[in-house]
Structures are given as C-alpha cells and as structure tokens.
C-alpha cells in the first residue's frame, strides 16, 4: 500500500508541475481516442441501425460477425493493420505507419464492431416499440434509421463511451502501428508499458492513475453533457 501512496503523490506532483512532455502524451491519447470514437460512431451507428431494421439475406451472419469481432484481440488487429500500412504492404504508399493517424485507424477498427453491435441491439429494441408508429407516418427506411438514432441518442451515448473506453485503454495494436515513438506516437498506455519495462514501477503506476482520472473525467463530462441535453431537449 505504501507504493500506492507514493505513486499517488508522484501523480499529483506530475500533474501540478504541468510537465510539457506529459501534457503532450495526454493530449495525444485524448485526441486519437476521441477521433477514433467519433469516426467509429459516425460509421458504426448508422450501420448498426441499418442492421437492426433492415431485412436482407446475410443479415444474421453479419450480426453474428460483428458480435464476434467485439472480441477481436488487439494484437491481431495491430498485426493486420501493420501488414496493410507497411511500406511493403498494399497501403504502404500512404506513409501512414508510425503516425497518429495509424493509431486512429487501429482504434477505429477495434471499436467499430463494438459500436455496431451495441447500436444494433438498442435500435432493434426501439424498432420493436415504434415500428407501427413510424410505419403509419409513412417513414421510409433511411428516415426511420435517422429518427431512431436521434430518439435513442441518450441511450446511444453509453455506446460511444464504451467505444472510447476500449480505444484509450488500447495498447497492443497502438504499440505495433504507432511504434511508441517519443513525441510522435507515444500515448498513455505505451508510456506505462515502457516505464514498466524500465522497472520504474512507481512512475508507471502514477501514469496509470492519471489515465484512470482522465477516463473518469471524460465520463463525467459526458454525464453532465447528457444531463444538460436532456433538460434542453428531454
């Protein structure tokens, strides 16, 4: 327990000292993970809703596939994307390997199935409830998808937070496609892994505490935003 207290003090010191390097790492972590979450939501939520109310051959297979991909190991995703983005790979010409963009792509790739699967379930439940109503209004499918997504926005915010949680906690894929390059692609999780490797466990634990505080901060902000939005549009 003594170690924990020492790390807590170190974490407080790091934050209060306003260390520029730490600030850079924290803002990169937040930036890429929020970017990936937005991107995955923009792609995954409409797709999930379409899976919920669409009726076409292969739908059940797709649903099972997305549910299964929620458990995709991140090193597998990392390896796959590395082979794609490597100079010798099909997308090598884009020069994206070892850039923050590569991290955003990897995180999007990892959390999109989660967002599709959870959205699909939420919208399917809502569709059961409002199907008759929407039909009687003569709404077309695209319109119905948009309406259901908008009406379910408060429930869907938890889907976004789940995605963000997995994105910012991610280390395996980020290490492979980002390369943990100091000042370029070094994020919170890869820094923690590096300091653990150096045997500097107090610093690694202090950084972990900062990461946890950060995730809590984002969730708190989302909760406040949700409460404010509910008052306004509720």
């Amino acid at each position: 327990m003594q170690e924990f207290a020492a790390s807590l003090a170190l974490a407080a010191h790091l934050v209060s000292a306003g260390d520029a390097r730490l600030a850079g790492i924290v803002s990169l972590s937040l930036g890429v993970s929020l970017g990936a979450t937005l991107l995955a939501c923009a792609l995954g939520m409409p797709l999930g809703a379409w899976l919920a109310i669409g009726r076409f051959p292969g739908r059940h297979t797709l649903i099972v596939a997305f549910n299964a991909l929620m458990g995709l190991p991140s090193v597998v995703a990392g390896l796959f994307l590395y082979l794609l983005l490597s100079r010798a790979g099909p997308l090598g010409g884009l020069g994206l390997l070892f850039t923050p963009t590569a991290i955003v792509i990897a995180q999007t790739f990892l959390i999109a199935p989660l967002i599709v699967a959870l959205t699909r379930q939420l919208i399917e439940d809502a569709w059961q409830e409002y199907r008759e109503q929407l039909r009687s209004l003569g709404a077309r499918r695209t319109r119905a998808v948009a309406t259901l997504l908008w009406d379910g926005r408060f429930s869907l915010s938890i889907v976004g937070l789940a995605g963000f949680g997995r994105a910012i906690a991610e280390v395996g894929a980020v290490m492979i496609v980002g390369g943990n390059i100091d000042g370029v692609t070094r994020v919170m999780t890869t820094t923690i892994a590096l300091e653990t490797s150096k045997g500097d466990l107090p610093l690694a634990l202090a950084l972990s505490l900062i990461l946890i505080a950060l995730v809590m901060g984002v969730n708190l902000f989302a909760a406040l935003l949700r409460a404010w939005a509910a008052r306004r549009w509720g």
Binding site: G31, L39, R87, P100, G179, I181, V184, G199
Partner: protein, 275 residues
Amino acid sequence: MQVLDRLRRAILLAALSLFAVAGAAAGERFITVASTTSTEQSGLFDYLLPKFTQASGIKVRVVALGTGQALDLARRGDADVVFVHDQAAEEKFVAAGDGLRRQPVMYNDFILVGPKDDPAQAAGQDIAEGLRRIAAARAPFVSRGDKSGTHAAELRYWQAAGIDLDAIKGPWYRDTGSGMGAALNTAAALDAYLLADRGTWLNFRNRGKLSILIAGDRRLFNQYGVILVNPARHPEVKAADGQRFIDWLVAAAGQQAIAAYRIGGESVFFPNAAE
C-alpha cells in the same frame, strides 16, 4: 430532414478531427530508426538524439524492438536506418542487399544477473561455466526468447558451454518472449538468472534481489552496429538524412556524446567506430 443534417454534421466533424490529428505531425524533417529495446531503455537515445537534432535539424523517430524484429521492419522498408546489436544477423541483412554498409558504433557488455544468494553458485568470470552450473542445478533461468540481439547472444553462450538446450530444457528454463525490461521484471519476481545488457540493467529500477554475478568474460562483448536501409530496394528511404545520422554517430561529435552518457557516474556504452 433536420435529423439527417445532424448526422451528416457529426460525420463531417469526425472526418475533420482525423485530419487535424494527421496534420499535426506532418511537415517535420525526420528519419525513422529501427533500434533495440536496450538502447531506448538504457536512456541513451534520450541523451543522444537531441544533440544530433540540434546539429542537423533532423528529428529522429525511434521504434524500439528486439534486433530480429528491428531488422524485419527495415527489410519491409519501414525504417531508414537500423541501429542494433547482433553482428551475424546484421551481416546477413547487408549480404541480402537489404542494407548498405554495416558500421560499428559502440559496445558494452552482457552480464549474467541472478539472485544475490546465488543458489547455483554461478558467480565468477566465466560465462560458460556459470551457465553449466545453472543448468546442473536446474536453477530458474529467464530467457528473452524473442530473437533479439541479447537472445542470440544467450544461445551462443549455451552453445559455448556445450549444453544442448533443447535436450535439457525444463520448467526451470522460462522462455518469456519479451523485451529486456519485461524479462528483468520477470526474473526479479522469480529470483531467476538471466542474461542482460549492462545499459538496460544500469537504468533498471525494479531489481529486487538481483545483482550482477558474471561480468568481464571477453565473450560477453556486445557490439552495436548501424546500417542504412538500401534505398535502391526501398525508394522511400530517406538516404541522405539517414546517412547524415550515421556519419554523425561515427564521427567525433557522436562518439564523444556516446562516451559522455553515464548512469550514476558509470559509463554505459563505449564508442569504437574507428576500430
């Protein structure tokens, strides 16, 4: 269609944020160096690279991996320069046309680390004899097992000890498949023996009961070399800037900087480009 507009706006916002992140890192003059966990985890690069950047205006982006993995990465054209420590593998890399010339930069030494009370009585100055005693006692031994330079060296020493590892491997020999630091953490937790490079050891904080048991055997010599990835094979390689980094490393400025890097007053790497 207000709802669809909102969705469209959200998608646009997401796309914009992606480009903002991508743009932040662009427009900088840099080279990518594939190197080893030992050079990074010893803290050498933190000390050395800012000096080169100051002299040249070129930033150095280091991807730290085991030597085998670093060479693989370079073979695919994902790095401009490799800076590693497994002479046999490096020469193979150059012979296959993946790299241009291999130049020696610096050396340090491997050390055998183990629990202070040394149950296998391995301590001394003879690495082969030490390993024989560890194997005879079946004392816990942690291996990197990741095709790194240190792993390649470890396998050479088992061979020098006349021990057929495959024949006597048992639960006492733990193949961890991990980097130097992670392997040290494992050994500290298990009170096990392991082969480490001195640089990482000096910078390593979580030592537990471990201490240096064997050092100074001439066979424990650990040479680092630097190679420019062949631009004829990978046209994207930044040959001019990469060569400039290599030239700086082997010239007086780089060599003096390497010699000046110390941890707790102790030299970590010894420049030997001229030899």
